[in-house]
Amino acid sequence: MINIDSYAYSNHLKKIHPGEKSFFAMSTMAVCLTSPTVITPLIVLAIMAGVTIFKAGIPARFFLKLMLVPLSFLLLSVLTIAFSISTNSFGFWLAQTINGFTIGIRYPDLIIASELFLRSLGAVSCLYFLALTTPMTEIITVLHKLKVPIIITELMVLIYRFIFVFMETALTIRRAQLSRSGYVSMKSSFRSMSLLFSALLGKVFVKSQELYNAMAARCYTGEIKMLTKKYPVNPRNYLLITALALVLIVINLLGRR
């Protein structure tokens, strides 16, 4: 997660307007998820991998590793769709009959499973593209522009910031515990862990009070107002993205059964 976050700030596409990147990821994902064929997800997967690796300069190894993360989960759910058990051996495409029970794959199920698999993977690649190229703060700005309620965007700003503050605090406490022989046995691990959590909880309250004071000192009145750096809008990018989406939609329509 930390690596994804670091790449979001250091990739080659960071100067591109966050709205363009979000539009690209979201429009492509929508087309991919609604696709009735396997061709569209494959194209989406290829495009997203290509853009992320070659355009944004994210190492291919890292991108592949990320794609492997949902794979195990995805395979499990897809396999349950593909395989069926029945007392009737009719209609199976690939099957084994044991004691009158037939375990196997029906051909239509296989198609559904593989489509679902690719569609999910394609959608995941779109999200990875966005996560790897666009810092969270800018995604929040885009959400704000899209009129997402302020309470949500403000909470996102604070939560995102404080994930890192608390992670650092937790790491520091953990290091201090390790250097005093915490976590040496099962029993001490549990004890150390519970101490870490209670210490962290205390800090959460202190930090939030301090943060409120510091914000009040800067004339906070209940709404977090802030400016975001402006990025040049490139109409050509919007055209390209729309054209791509249209092509994919045409493929979707042609592949309809």
Binding site: D5, S6, Y9, K14, P135, M136, T137, E138, V157, L158, Y160, R161, F164, V165, E168, K207, E210, L211, N213, A214, M215, A216, A217, R218, C219, Y220, T221, I224, K225, M226, L227, T228, K229
Partner: protein, 277 residues
């Protein structure tokens, strides 16, 4: 015109748990002054600072801004906080956004300025604190010193009349500490009133016009740095030490290298100049 801009009158404050944090604080801060508050940990410096812009309300006594008792009504507090800015000690509790640019723009936007004006101020604050190259970085990837400079920028961009720095040089490397002192000098030259708290006796001695020494919630001494540091029992009582420059000066006088009539040196260069050739 040396008029009083901030004033504490018979200020008493206890924390909700009953700990007495401030006892009968009387303090006048003149406009354009360079004031240092010295005191050991827990002496009440930070608590006093939070009284100055109305974050804490005294149990008894008052804070006066330009001769008027400050009001604790929301609107009045906001007006006060436009004029009196605080840079907190821990940058992690001051920076609320992960974007350096967003965080610095927060204060000036709250002043109701136009976006263009805010942009100009943010740019200027970035330049003044040498953080221009950090504006695209997320706060959590910055070092402690960098965060500190960003949190300073966030207050500078509001252009307050009085700027309070709580332990500003703690955690800064020598180079950035020096540059910070230069920044303070520039702010002073612009006519800002500056209050800092520190443990750094060298900084307190060479930078300030006036010193306040606090100990367990009380002001135990105030006056010119040269006068206060030459009272050994006072320095001991406040858990402080002699500035190295004064230590050297006293040593030289004791050994007869300097006549006792030599004026106290403010800087190393002054001390070297006063040595007989």
């Amino acid at each position: 015109m040396p008029d009083v801009i901030l004033e504490a009158v018979h200020l008493d404050y206890s924390y909700p748990d009953g700990t007495k944090a401030l006892r009968d604080i009387n303090l006048k801060i003149k406009r354009g002054e360079k004031l240092t508050i010295l005191g050991s940990n827990g002496a009440g410096k930070s608590t006093l600072f939070m009284q100055f812009n109305g974050l804490y309300r005294p149990n008894s006594g008052t804070i006066k801004y330009r001769g008027q008792d400050i009001s604790y009504k929301n609107k009045a507090l906001i007006e006060l906080r436009k004029k009196v800015g605080i840079v907190f000690q821990d940058p992690d509790s001051q920076l609320f956004s992960s974007s350096v640019y967003q965080d610095i723009s927060f204060g000036p936007l709250n002043l109701g300025l136009s976006e263009q004006e805010v942009e100009v101020r943010v740019e200027q604050a970035l330049i003044d604190t040498e953080t221009t190259d950090l504006e695209d970085k997320p706060t959590h990837l910055l070092s402690y010193g960098q965060k500190k400079r960003v949190s300073i920028a966030g207050v500078l961009a509001m252009e307050p009349e009085v700027i309070i720095f709580d332990e500003p040089t703690a955690g800064l490397d020598p180079r950035h500490a020096r540059e910070f002192m230069q920044l303070l000098k520039n702010l002073s030259d612009e006519g800002k009133t500056i209050i800092i708290s520190t443990h750094d006796v060298d900084l307190a001695y060479s930078w300030s016009d006036r010193l306040i020494i606090m100990s367990s919630g009380e002001i135990i001494a105030q006056g010119k740095p040269g006068e206060l540091f030459l009272q050994p029992d006072l320095i001991k009582r406040a858990d402080l030490a002699l500035p190295s420059l004064l230590e050297m000066y006293c040593g030289l006088v004791e050994k007869g290298w300097l006549p006792p009539s030599t004026p106290l040196p403010k800087t190393r260069a002054e001390l070297l100049l006063s040595l007989p050739q």
